[in-house]
């Protein structure tokens, strides 16, 4: 019968449409292939379904169905339902965003944030109209932001804005300030350290190696403790040094040591021929680096650089240990409030979601960038 059908001859144009072979497409085939392919696969599927059944419905009940949005204290929440008490977050979200920044001055934070988005867009979005002019703005942005956020007198010249001291910085705004400062300064410092480490000046190399290995060998927390307790000893007696500035310096140095190692990996992956070619063109050291070596090395290191950025951004939470009021600091003081005591899950899950959104989008952008810059041969 089968041979009959294969040898059957049709007049041109009269060939009947045949059914596709059974089970090479469609949902049933997909299920069979991806969920019940073998005995182990079937067992894994059933176990995962059971796991999801254990986790998802109770979590959904807790977070959505039984949750309370309007209440003024934990006991009111408990009366309304036994789910999550999001009223706590609703009560505190302004504090979580702005910290103790003066309420009537908060527009300055908003404006800086909008300007930050413009500055970042100029770097990330390469089809942006008039991008070249916006890049200039990006370079000027740190100073604009410092002016907006701090205000007060600069070198005796009044700026027209009321002064806000750095101990009033807090919440997500503080996270962004530390994160952006660390990210923008650690890259250039990291490049210099990496060049020093692979270069051929022995003394410079030793200094760079010692610095990098020291920073990488100790936890950030101890460095922050050094910043908060010990650093004043090394400055001329009587110098008062802003705590936030000390933290910013430490976080930047910490990230730049890791950055240096990532970039060193990229530098070492560049074939020697590229260096020799640059030499034979008569380029000077910095010209060769700027035009030939670094563009290639940085391109290779993009995943590592973005990972360092993400790590730095997550590490900003550690400043809570030395008493700065980042979102975790705000959470801690909010949880000490009698009205809301014991609602740590709601608070920490909210903050975790914030960090997840930031860090996940960073890693997605890095994947996109890798694909875009991939000019070599794809295998």
């Amino acid at each position: 019968m089968a041979s009959e059908t294969t040898t059957q001859k049709y007049e041109p144009g009269t060939h009947p449409d045949m059914e596709p072979p059974v089970l090479t497409s469609g949902p049933v085939y997909w299920l069979k292939e991806n969920l019940f392919g073998s005995i182990t696969s079937t067992i894994l599927t059933l176990l995962s379904i059971y796991l999801l059944y254990l986790i998802i419905p109770p979590l959904f009940d807790w977070a959505v169905l039984d949750a309370t949005l309007n209440a003024s204290s934990r006991s009111e929440c408990q009366q309304a339902g036994d789910g999550a008490c999001w009223a706590f977050i609703k009560d505190r979200y302004l504090l979580l965003i702005y910290g103790f920044y003066p309420i009537e001055e908060r527009w300055r934070v908003d404006v800086s944030f909008i300007l930050l988005l413009v500055a970042i867009a100029a770097v990330l979005w390469d089809a942006m109209p008039a991008r070249r002019h916006f890049i200039k703005f990006t370079i000027a942005f740190p100073f604009v932001a410092a002016y907006l956020l701090l205000g007060g007198e600069w070198f005796g010249i009044p700026t027209g804005l009321e002064q806000v001291t750095t101990d009033q910085f807090g919440g997500i705004m503080l996270t962004v300030v530390i994160g952006i400062t660390g990210i923008s300064f650690s890259l250039p410092i990291g490049i210099v350290l990496a060049l020093g480490r692979v270069g051929n000046l022995p003394v410079v190399r030793i200094v760079c190696v010692m610095f990098i290995e020291f920073i990488r060998g100790v936890p950030l927390i101890t460095l922050l403790f050094v910043a908060s307790t010990m650093l004043n000893y090394f400055l001329p007696p009587g110098t008062q040094f802003d705590l936030l500035l000390r933290v910013l310096i430490m976080v930047t140095l910490f990230a730049s040591a890791y950055m240096a190692e990532v970039i060193r990996g990229g530098l070492q992956a560049i074939p020697k021929g590229q260096y020799e070619a640059a030499d034979s063109m008569g380029l000077k050291y910095w010209q060769a680096m700027r035009l030939i070596i670094l563009p290639q090395a940085l391109k290779i290191s993009i995943p590592g650089i973005v990972n360092t950025f993400i790590g730095l951004y997550k590490d900003t939470t550690l400043v809570v240990v030395i008493g700065l009021l980042d979102p975790l600091g705000i959470a801690k003081s909010s949880l000490a409030d009698n009205r809301w005591q014991g609602l740590s899950n709601e608070m920490y899950i909210f903050i975790a979601l914030f960090f997840f959104v930031c860090c996940f989008s960073m890693s997605r952008y890095s994947l996109y960038l890798e694909k875009k810059l991939h000019t070599g041969h794809k295998r």
Partner: protein, 406 residues
């Protein structure tokens, strides 16, 4: 043409063209410039060190403090909630620091073990052809590694403290293990003298296994016959001690926790702080290890699988002999930095009150004695030594599994 040639010959003989004053001539010489630059670096570095040194001396003098480590011998007079060695509040600061160091090492070692196990499991599951398990692990990994580890620690600590019941309503498994908000209680083994035989049997098992493995390897080289090394090893290392343990009459007495008036008494307790730190560090690091393992396995080209299949090897043998050794070469270097990260992240213990080295020496001892310089230097030095030891060990391991090239 001839003039050009003669000019070149001339300048070759006379070295680089002599132009300008001596300073710019030196500046244009590459070697001279590098020497000058390095001397400047050294001078700058020493000037900086001298500057902060004199400042430190002046500041210490101004505050009437001395630089000495005498405070280490003074009683610490604070309590530590978990101590692996004897410790009371009368013990010295040095003893407190040692207790803290042991706590750091304990959570680091436990964390590395659990993180490796979970990381390898997640990494392999992430490569599974099963769509559902693949997605679940993917979501777990992305959620875990994109949230700061400090939040993980606080979240798990909060869950243990607020969601588990008070000891009086403890959740118990067979009345042996108790889950409470004061920690996990498990029976405490009390070893009797006859237990020595089990230990001896265990040691004999290990030695026997090594001898058998060598012999089997040699026989395989000579005759091609393959022996069941794994099963013999299992029998020798696990089976023999279990057998001896049963024959000698199970010489371990278990002290089970009993519910007292306010709390559970007896047994071993895992305090909530340790539990939160251990689980959080392990889960967080396992997400990174999973990605490393996945990348490592994917880095072994598919041709290696096919070549091994063509030789008629079984799947397990292919994995053990072909794929894993090659994948390990890619996995080990980043794995080392993950182990280092976990150890360093254990310093976050201070946020939930687990008394590690930072919380004892760099925290309470610092506050009590006011010796910021000395205590911080000791903490930094200890972490540097720990990092150095871990990277030395992992470098040794890396050299051992490295591809030997001619």
């Amino acid at each position: 043409m001839s003039t050009i040639q003669s000019q070149t010959a001339q300048s070759d003989a006379a070295g680089p063209p002599v132009t300008g004053n001596p300073i710019s001539r030196i500046w244009n010489n590459k070697e001279a410039r590098s020497v000058i630059f390095q001397i400047l670096t050294i001078v700058g570095l020493f000037a900086f060190l001298a500057y902060i040194g004199t400042n430190a001396v002046a500041n210490l003098e101004k505050l009437g403090k001395t630089f000495s480590f005498d405070f280490l011998g003074v009683p610490a007079s604070y309590d530590i909630n978990q101590h692996l060695i004897d410790y009371t509040s009368q013990s010295t600061h040095a003893r407190a620091a040692l207790v803290g160091l042991l706590n750091t090492l304990l959570v680091a070692v436990c964390g590395v073990i659990l993180a490796s196990i979970l990381g390898f499991i997640f990494g392999v599951l992430r490569l599974s052809h099963n769509w559902l398990i693949n997605r679940i692990v993917y979501v777990f990994i992305e959620f875990t590694r994109n949230v700061p580890v400090l939040l993980h620690i606080l979240l798990i600590h909060g869950l243990v403290i607020h969601s588990l019941p008070h000891p009086r309503q403890a959740i118990s498994l067979w009345d042996e293990i108790f889950f409470t908000n004061r920690g996990f209680y498990i029976p405490k083994p009390d070893f009797q003298e006859a237990f020595m035989f089990t230990v001896i049997a265990f040691l004999i098992g290990i030695v026997g296994f090594i001898v058998f493995k060598r012999w089997a390897h040699k026989r395989q080289e000579e005759t091609g016959h393959i022996y069941p090394v794994f099963w013999v090893g299992l029998a020798a290392i696990v089976g023999l001690p279990v057998l001896v343990y049963i024959v000698t009459g199970a010489p371990i007495e278990w002290e089970t926790p009993k519910l007292g008036r306010f709390n559970l008494r007896g047994g071993m307790v895992m305090i909530p702080e340790f539990l939160a730190l251990w689980l959080a560090l392990s889960l967080y690091t396992s997400a990174f290890i999973a990605e490393i393992v996945r990348a490592g396995i994917l880095s072994v080209s598919h041709g290696q699988w096919e070549a091994s299949m063509a030789l008629g090897m079984r799947r397990s043998r292919t994995l053990n002999l072909i794929i894993i050794p090659q994948a390990l070469r890619v996995i080990v270097p980043p794995l080392t930095s993950q182990y280092l990260n976990l150890t360093k992240n254990s310093s976050l213990a201070i946020a939930i009150g687990y008394m590690d080295i930072v919380a004892t020496l760099g925290g309470i001892s610092l506050m009590q004695t006011g010796k910021e310089m000395e205590t911080m230097m000791m903490v930094l030095a200890i972490y540097l030594v720990i990092s150095l030891v871990i990277s030395m060990f992992m470098n040794w391991y890396n050299r051992r599994i490295k591809l030997v090239e001619r």
